[in-house]
Each structure stands twice: as C-alpha cells, then as structure tokens.
Symmetry: C2
Subunit: 193 residues, 2 copies
DNA sequence: TAAAAAACGGAACAATCGTTCCTGAATTAG
DNA sequence: CTAATTCAGGAACGATTGTTCCGTTTTTTA
C-alpha cells in the first residue's frame, strides 16, 4: 500500500555524526543538517523527531561503532600491549591526517553538553564505564600472559589509559599537528606497561 | 569634567570568566552576560565591544591567572615531584567539590572553539606551549636534584603531564564524582616519576 | 486503479539571538 | 553652574534559531 523508505536511516545517522562531530551540537543548525544529510526539513523531523533526539541517536551510534571496533581489536590481539599501542598510534594518525580536526565525538559532547543535558551525561558515563571495562579486561589478560607489568593494578591502568586517550583527543581537537608531541606522550604512557 | 568609571573592568572580566566557563561560548547569551556581570547592555557593549571580544579577553585573563599561579607554585617548591602531585591533587579536589562541574575553561574552549575561531586557536596553542615549558623546566630541575627519575626526557614528561591534566579536566567536566577514579589515574601517572 | 505512505519544497511560526540606539538620570571636574 | 561622561533601562533592529504545517509529487501494494 505504502511507499517504501528511500533513504537508509543509518546512513543518515552517519551523516549526522559527521556534522555534529565537526561543529558540535550548538554549532550545528537545522539548515546544516538539511544540507548535510540530504533530506528535506520535513523528512528529517518526521524521521528523527527533533534536533536533540537526532543528536542522541547519533552519539549512541557513534558509541556503539567505537566500542565494537575496540572490543574486536583487543579480543583478537595476540599481544595486548602491542594492541594498545596500536590503538593510540591509530588515534595519532587520525589526528594528524584529519584536515578538519574533529577530535573525539564523545569527548567533544562530554565537554559541551554532559553538564546541561542529563541524557547526554548518561551516555557519556555509560561509555566511560564500558570502555574502561574493555581496557581493564584486556590488561588483566595481558598481565596474566606476562605481556604487561603487573606492578600496577589493571583497573588503575585502564583508567589511566582512558584518561590519556581523552587528553590526546583534546589535543587533536585543539589542532595540534606536531607528531613529535604525540609521540612523546605515547612514549611516556607505554613506559608504564 | 566627566563621570568616573564605577565598575572595575577586571572584576567584570572575572564574572565573565565564570559564566563562559560554566556555559561555554555558544551557551551563554547576551542576556546571561547582562544578568551575571551586573552591567547594563549598553555599558557592556561600550566597554568590551562585542561578545567575541569579551570572550577572548576573559580567556586571556584566565590563562594569565593560571599560568602565574602554576609558575609560582613550581618555582617555590622544594620538591618538584611533590609539587606536581599537589597540583593534580588540587585539581581533583576542585573537580569533586565543584557542584557545577566546570572542568577547565581552556580545555572547554579548545574543544568548543579552537577549530572555528583562529583567535581562540592562537590562545590555546600559546597556552599549551607556555604550560608545557613551565612543566619542562621544573622537571629538568627536579631531575638534576634527583627528585625525578631521568629515565624519561623532561620534554616528554612535560607533554605527558599536560596530557593527563587535560584528561582529568574532561573527566571532571563530564561529571565524574568518584574519587577513586581520579586517585587511580594519579597513582599511575606518578609511578612514572 | 485506488488508497497509503514517503518524500520534498517551501512558507510560516514564535522565539531567541547579538547588536544598536535613544532617553534620562547620575556623577564628575573645571 | 555647566559641560562632559558614565551608567541604566528598554525599545528596536534584522538575522537566525528550531519547529510546524501544508500542498504536491512519487512510489508502493492491495
């Protein structure tokens, strides 16, 4: 009876992620969304409700994507320590090649919105806990395998890793383009493992 | 001949820092500024030009205040390593007692604006360089005094410290209130020194 | 073919945005 | 006292904000 949906909702969400990530929530106007998603105003509002709902969906999708790839990367790793360094090196590569420096969508949203929007705060906290747990489990495994020093508790190391990941993403968002700066930080971080 | 200025410009700037810090640039309206600074719309615009100029002046003042106190703290320290841990412990205390979690005004501004406002980007980069240098000099001194391990280069450690400071401020901004989380991070950081 | 739904384009909404301008009162120094 | 300047208050500016609504076209399936 009815016409079938033409655009893929997830593809639209990926577009939304891009522009929210780049410009932030307050910096992105409804017109920006229309232009970037390639949808009409009406379709956009019919499909996603309003700007805030669209943002929340975008952030949740981003979170899921990142957690999945992180999990996969660490679970399939032969050497946990090497895998962790690879994750950071990858973040550095992205930061350097990013012509429009976007940083991390989750970090950006934390800073901009967590404080004023309880729904965003919930997502941020959930992300923090989940990522921390992923790190912690892997580090424990690495310690059992003798790949990572067990001088420090796994939980402490996981939180430490998470903290430095945030820091690096802020650095990238601030526009740092000197590879040496990142390399210095990475050197210090992984001298601990 | 003329009436003298009644309000102190620096006091007004301190008020501006407060609200910009709390709400961000885009989140702070002209009306917010009028209410919080206690100035009339006209006085505000006569004195500071426009919103962007006021923001820049606020951020510059914040930067100066922080760099001064950081410099003083480290220069007067007997033991550099202890002084560094004190700086971080202080940041944790502030993060925990901050009922409205503000994080760090400089970090917040980096994330929100550095990418879209070249003037802010300049301030952010200048701050990064300056703070890094302050850390680096002190760490060198600490290494010469045998208070800090010289296994790592001072420059690398300075950048590492800066990175973790950013991370912690993001964590605070995101609303983290569990002291154990901060303590775990600090423990890991300073096991390196 | 007819009904149902999807999508578009665009007009229109009230609200808020940053900013400018004007008036009038307050205060100062000559 | 007078001229100059600083404030407050508020009206008003055009622009932009997020959002709603309507009319039309397109596509689908029963």
């Amino acid at each position: 009876m009815a016409r079938t949906k033409e655009f893929n909702e997830d593809q639209a969400l990926d577009k939304a992620i891009e522009i929210f990530w780049h410009k932030g929530y307050n910096g992105t106007s409804a017109q920006d969304l229309v232009n970037h998603l390639g949808l009409s105003r009406s379709s956009l509002y019919d499909t996603f409700g309003d700007k805030q709902k669209l943002f929340v969906k975008s952030l949740q999708r981003y979170q899921q994507q990142n957690q999945d790839s992180l999990k996969e990367l660490l679970e399939n790793a032969e050497n946990i320590k090497i895998a962790l360094t690879e994750i950071f090196k990858q973040a550095v590569v992205e930061s350097l090649q990013d012509r429009i420096t976007k940083g991390c969508f989750m970090v950006n949203s934390s800073v901009e919105l967590a404080m004023h929007d309880p729904e965003i705060a919930k997502i941020v906290h959930n992300n923090q806990k989940t990522v921390e747990d992923i790190f912690c489990l892997s580090i424990k495994k690495g310690q059992e395998l003798g790949q990572i020093s067990d001088k420090q508790e796994a939980r402490s190391l996981a939180r430490f890793i998470f903290n430095n990941y945030s820091g690096i993403r802020v650095l990238a968002r601030a526009g740092e383009r000197d590879k040496q700066v990142y390399d210095d930080i990475l050197k210090a971080i992984f001298s601990l493992f």
